[in-house]
């Protein structure tokens, strides 16, 4: 039985139960996760998931139900549950399926190479990451070297005639290396991702984990200061992921974004350009259509320092009297669509990392932040987060530092961007973000 059939039967069942409109998202996936430790397999898992989520509309009310039973009775029961749920909701004049659906051409979402890799080769890849990290003098431990992949299919059908499906694959690996011991132990993370294991470079991932840990050896708490700060790609991606979530029209319309009412304003230094792009072939968040059947696209958000617009799904677009940007998103069939980023991309600049550090002169290089999501006030944008990294002295990386906090507010930080690095990379935290390192002219650093 095809996924599209299951979704179609769910939609028909919802209409038969009395829904005015209905939509069903069905998915099937298999995934593999291999963890190695100390030269052997610590755990290996093989997973097969499938499920369907049904959105039913009763007039201007909507409800959702999801489940793992794709049989005729199973989807019919979900369709009824979705409709019953809708009856509890209050009316929402903007609710409804998209007025226009569509599909973009996005190549390369699924790689056939994944299927050619047997389990033994994947185990070997994870072991190679561990060996690469351990090969560095001073590495005391590799806590985890992990290889994961997933292949999945998705089908979306709605009562306005939309029916489409796509397949995608993803492979990623990471390792966490330790340097030093006891209370002076420092950790470093190495990451790689792609559509299949051939896109992963195990040595590079292991080296990165080791080098990031070793670079922090002997870290101490610095003195408080105001200074230029270079955010590495991981940290820049975390901040931009957070900013991206505030550029959702949902956050804006509900008064939960500091960017509300600032469309057209200068919110950043002209050096910074940010786009959301759901069509990048190598973007983990790419797809031909969004979670409610609108075509995905490229949406410039910040350009020349100005805020150009927000991210919309059908509902928020209707409310703002504009068009959807194809940003209806859902984690899985277990949640109804809501506005989310696809792939956030910071357009790369001219300088490599060494160049940014030179430009900073005397300052701080941040390689890790902690507590970002609790540390930022989403409405005012003020934040104070824990950080780890190295001091910059005379344009060179110097003394490692830890247990410090960096504080600013998001708009001041965006306006203080001085240069954007040239080396962009995909970072799988804070959503899917492609970020280079970024130099911020001044931030407040609090230590001892």
């Amino acid at each position: 039985m095809s996924l599209e059939d299951a979704a179609r039967r769910a939609v028909e069942a919802a209409l038969a139960a009395g829904a005015g409109d209905a939509e069903a998202w069905a998915e099937r996936s298999t995934s593999r996760d291999i963890r190695v430790y100390d030269g052997r397999v610590e755990s290996m898992s093989d997973a097969g998931g499938r499920g369907v989520g049904v959105r039913a509309f009763a007039g201007k009310r909507s409800g959702y139900a999801y489940g793992t039973d794709l049989s005729d009775e199973g989807v019919a029961e979900l369709a009824r549950a979705a409709l019953e749920a809708a009856e509890v909701a209050d009316e929402d004049e903007f609710a409804g399926l998209p007025d226009e659906s569509g599909v973009s051409d996005v190549d390369g979402l699924a790689s056939a190479a994944l299927g050619r890799w047997g389990t033994d080769r994947k185990v070997e890849l994870a072991l190679e990451i561990e060996r690469a990290a351990r090969a560095h003098d001073g590495i005391s431990q590799v806590e985890n070297a992990v290889y994961s992949d997933a292949e999945g299919s998705v089908a979306l059908v709605n009562s306005r005639g939309f029916a489409a499906s796509f397949d995608a694959t993803q492979a990623w690996a990471y390792a966490s290396a330790f340097a030093g011991e006891g209370e002076d132990l420092m950790t470093g993370l190495g990451v790689g991702l792609g559509r299949d294991p051939e896109a992963l470079d195990p040595k590079a991932i292991g080296d990165e984990a080791a080098q990031r840990a070793l670079a922090l050896m002997g870290a101490r708490r610095p003195e408080s200061r105001r200074c230029p700060v270079v955010l590495d790609a991981f940290v820049a991606a975390s901040f931009l992921g957070f900013i991206g979530s505030m550029l959702s029209a949902e956050a804006v319309q509900r008064g939960r974004s500091l960017f509300a009412g600032r469309q057209g304003d200068e919110v950043a230094d002209p050096a910074l350009a940010l786009v959301d792009d759901g069509t990048q072939p190598d973007g983990p968040g790419s797809a031909p259509f969004d979670s409610e059947g609108s075509r995905t696209r490229r949406t410039p958000l910040i350009e020349g320092g100005r805020l150009l617009g927000f991210l919309y799904d059908a509902r928020t677009a209707r409310k703002a009297n504009t068009e959807t940007t194809g940003n209806a998103s859902r984690g899985s069939y277990r949640s109804p669509p809501s506005v989310g980023t696809t792939n956030l991309v910071i357009e790369p600049g001219e300088e490599d990392l060494a160049g940014l550090v030179r430009l900073a002169g005397d300052g701080l290089y941040v390689t890790e932040v902690a507590g970002l999501h609790s540390g930022v006030n989403p409405v005012s944008g003020t934040f104070s987060v824990g950080a780890t990294g190295r001091l910059i002295a005379d344009g060179e990386l110097g003394q490692p530092v830890r247990e410090l906090t960096i504080a600013s507010d998001l708009v001041s930080m965006l306006r203080a961007v001085q240069a954007v690095g040239s080396e962009g990379r995909w970072v799988p935290f804070g959503g899917s973000v492609k970020a280079p390192p970024v130099l911020i002219g001044e931030m407040s650093v609090s230590g001892s």
């Binding site: 430790y37 755990s43 998931g49 749920a85 509890v88 009316e91 431990q141 209370e183 609090s446």
Partner: protein, 461 residues
Amino acid sequence: MTLVVPELASQVLERALARGGDLAELYAEARQSFSLSLDDGRVERPQGGRERGVCVRVVQGESSYFGYVDGTAEQDLLRVADSVAQAVRGEARHPAALSAADRRDGHPIRVHPEEVEARRKADLLRACEERARSAGPEVAQVRLGYGESRRLVEVYSSDGRAAADDRTRIRLSAQVVARRGDRVETGTDTRGGHVGFELLEEDPEQVAENAARRALTLLDAVDAPSGRLPVVVGNGFGGVLLHEAVGHGLEADAIQKEASVYAGRIGEQLAADFVTAYDDGSRTNAWGSDGIDDEGTPTRRTTILEDGRLTSYLYDLLRARRDGVESTGNGRRESFRHLPVPRMTNTFFAPGGATPDELIGEVERGLYAVSFGGGQVEPATGDFVFGVSEGYLIEGGKVTSPVRGATLVGNGIEALGAIDGIADDLDIATGYCGKAGQTVAAGVGQPHVRLRELTVGGIGT
């Protein structure tokens, strides 16, 4: 209700051990859930879920092999068992005989939430909104969430274990935004437990009122100070500090990889002799409680700190076997889609003899951290960072101005050693804990606790 009958479970375990293994386990789960929110003055996002699935695990030596499938169809279960067995290298073994799963019943549910009409839940959110709005004209936004779930769990293993659990959880949460000119502040509160709808029969609106009061208070907040200061941490959600900075470091997976500052330190005096702390998954109707853990071990109270000495780590079956001890009933998983890992249940400091006023009264200048917006810790070093979501200055032994933007930065062992007072007002709050890609309900709690000195990062100086 039985999800998988013992006869089928035996067959699955037999197949799972076809190529050897020290232990095979089948975990089956049926989950029914319902949630609803109120936002922008409207009841919205009503949703229900019905999931059912099974996973199979084979442990051989130091390795675990695992597979899961949605549904409980016989042929799917046997296929998963075969596929997991494929990864194992050894001689076939035979599982012990299984009896019917024994169900634990430690957490009475008076009113099953799924039997309460959905409209009543919607009305409850509306009443909460009204209470929050009535707290003052500066209340700008009210966001409420209601969630319930019921999980039926069965565990069968090749050593003859057959256990079951019936878990009902319910949670109400409120987030209120207050606005005055350009100032915007957020307050939150929650109430929840491993308990039925009766939890929300007595003044549920109080949750919304608490959140509103916090948001309004913060409108008068001054920028937090920074530097080394004495800190009094509030009861209830203040226990996040213990959870993050100590508890994660006691989970046996981190210990065995020496990825924890607490490794090899059992018996050491880490805190003053009046400091005792527990992890207690058997605490009646508490948020992080269950009848059994997700490996079928009955939950229990484990003393982690006794009179300031470190007394125990938190174990699942796999790590317990490695250390030659018994599981402490901390093998938990988010769902049948996950391998169990050692996780906290309800983790809290035992009450002391002081009152909160006495703790505060002895502080000349410090921070009163009532509640945290969340936190993060590096278990390997114990370094932590917490955002203080509700905090006040302490000046001359009195709580004075509210502060905003404060963070606590420090180290777990340093913080334990800095405890110089514990009050008598234990309370446990409802947290969600993420680890190894899995989120589980975790109770965090404590009475008021005072730390002699900690690094406070703030916006002010």
